[in-house]
Symmetry: C2
Subunit: 338 residues, 2 copies
């Protein structure tokens, strides 16, 4: 059994914790949280061992009558791998703590730069993480780009990729951020960070990305424009995407006209928290014009990296092949395995 | 004096009517409206001659105590050119009425297909409209694309244009339409209508467009990716855009981070109804990578076609050069002329 801890119990931490519990070869040693609230109360009800991030936080939990087992330092004594799901840009603060405890660590895309020995997308570079002390699961958008572009690159070759990202402004439970009625260029300059991030995984890919925020809370919408090495039809591309792990195709004719329909599909599928783990490509958008492929893709920002975190745990722990790990993960999370 | 009527007093009709009043060589003979409401009351207060669209509409206005001069048919007897700003897709119903009255007509982008003898963007093809009976001012997005791409095409050549359009879902006074929290692919297939519409003006341009709706009411946001014929720097492109009529450049460093900032600029400029007539390009987004130009552009859906309608009136009436007409229009509307 791989003993796993999750540091942070927000959007990603909660999902990774539940996903760890579903794996037959993993044990959730515990999760940390900063403050007591309904989320920590739900964790207690689910029987998840709860830890405070530090002594001050511990006092707050005890004052609230919560059943906390100790602090992050105590949790680190009981795990083989820690999944860092702490707030953005706090990776540099946490890294020495994990190192001190001699625990392997997985960081999320937003944790900071230069924290890890490799960037990680399971189906693209699982092997690169083997034997490493720390890896960084790339951001949700970068994960989606890597999955789909890599599938097409393997099938017909991609000489240049361009992606325009319409990003959801913030997550559904965050009522503090905007915008309400505007499109925010983020950044106004090119490229957005996603292009360089993709290249940390797909090292030879030529890619430029542009990104802006729109007033939604669910899913990013990507418009992809790919120059192809070989002549290919749209059917060739659809076949490559249908064969790709953790990519699903949907069709406008079946009622999938918006990101809201994809989230509704996740609910119909009975997924926990309506999570859509798969990069979702509109099949009827896939087009080839003058040697360039075009398509729309949606990425569920809260969910797509969950299977990647699970595979990253096995890659750091060792003893698994890419295929073996992804098969276990997909089976446990209800993802169609290919 | 060119006698002008405006059929329809909605988003575009109201703006064109006011713009006609500002021209020294035009007389606003009147506007039509279907139902009495605050908009028709405001028109009366402004001294704009008000007509009902038909007899039933006339009765409704009279019952509401409005001072109406007659119906559309009466208005058509008093004009040289009618600007059709009626609801979407009603062009085919109105065309025989205008023809019967022997009045030249200008249609908007959404009026329908095949109504006019030419598509129209003043700085691109003013001359094509000379002597015609009817022209169609292309949609707001198509107008923005034509202005900017034509400027770059003239300067360095554009061998292929790709545009991703994040469209405002609906206008600020329309509370019936969505979406509230989703991105809607419109359509899910490629290309969106904008590509073919641009080619109706810039006939030799190779262009593919993708479009989706986002939950905003102000401005469309375009991401442009242009393959260039000649080697060019970003400074070359910025210079071409700075020299282009009805295009303005803004910079993220000056606080222009979103479409909301562009609308706020229009308010600071004292523009009527906050109208931004200029296609607005983020100067700091203009980039050249591997022979391809990238940039962000915002288009104010309610305003950008207003100067085009005014120039189209002069083109149909005759006796003006492109330069003479655009100079008059720009002066009257407060647009920096170049």
């Amino acid at each position: 059994m791989i003993r796993v801890g999750v540091n942070g119990y927000g959007t990603i931490g909660r999902r990774v914790a539940d996903a760890v519990k579903r794996q037959g070869d993993m044990e959730l040693a515990g999760v940390t949280k900063t403050r007591p609230d309904y989320k920590s109360q739900m964790a207690e009800k689910k029987g998840i061992p709860l830890y405070a991030v530090d002594m001050k936080s511990l006092e707050a939990f005890r004052a609230a009558g919560a059943n906390v087992k100790g602090t992050l330092n105590d949790l680190l004594q009981r795990v083989d791998v820690i999944v860092d799901a702490a707030p953005e840009d706090t990776g540099p603060l946490n890294k020495p703590i994990y190192q001190q405890a001699g625990v392997k660590a997985i960081y999320q895309g937003g944790a900071g730069d230069g924290l890890a020995d490799a960037s990680f997308v399971a189906q693209c570079n699982f092997e690169e993480a083997l034997g490493k002390q720390a890896v960084q699961v790339v951001s949700c958008n970068t994960t989606g780009l890597c999955r789909t572009i890599n599938a097409i690159d393997r099938a017909v070759g991609v000489t240049k990729a361009r992606a325009v990202l319409a990003r959801r402004a913030t997550d559904p439970d965050d009522v503090k951020k905007g915008p309400i009625d505007a499109v925010v260029l983020d950044p106004t300059t090119l490229p957005s960070h996603h292009g360089p991030d993709v290249k940390a995984v797909l090292k030879d890919l030529n890619i430029v990305t542009m990104a802006f925020k729109v007033p939604t809370t669910h899913m990013h919408l990507h418009s992809l424009i790919l120059s192809l090495r070989k002549q290919a039809t749209r059917e060739d591309l659809v076949a490559a995407l249908e064969a790709a792990p953790r990519v699903q195709l949907v069709d406008g004719k079946s009622g999938f006209k918006s990101t809201a329909a994809i989230m509704d599909l996740a609910r119909e599928m009975g997924r926990p928290r309506n999570d859509m783990y798969e990069a979702t490509v509109w099949k009827d958008s896939v087009s080839v014009v003058d040697g360039e492929a075009y398509m729309f893709m949606a990425v569920h920002q809260e969910a797509i990296v969950v299977p990647e975190n699970i595979d990253a745990i096995r890659a750091l722990y060792g003893g698994y092949t890419r295929e073996a790990s992804m098969k276990l993960t997909d089976a446990a999370l209800g993802i169609a395995h290919r």
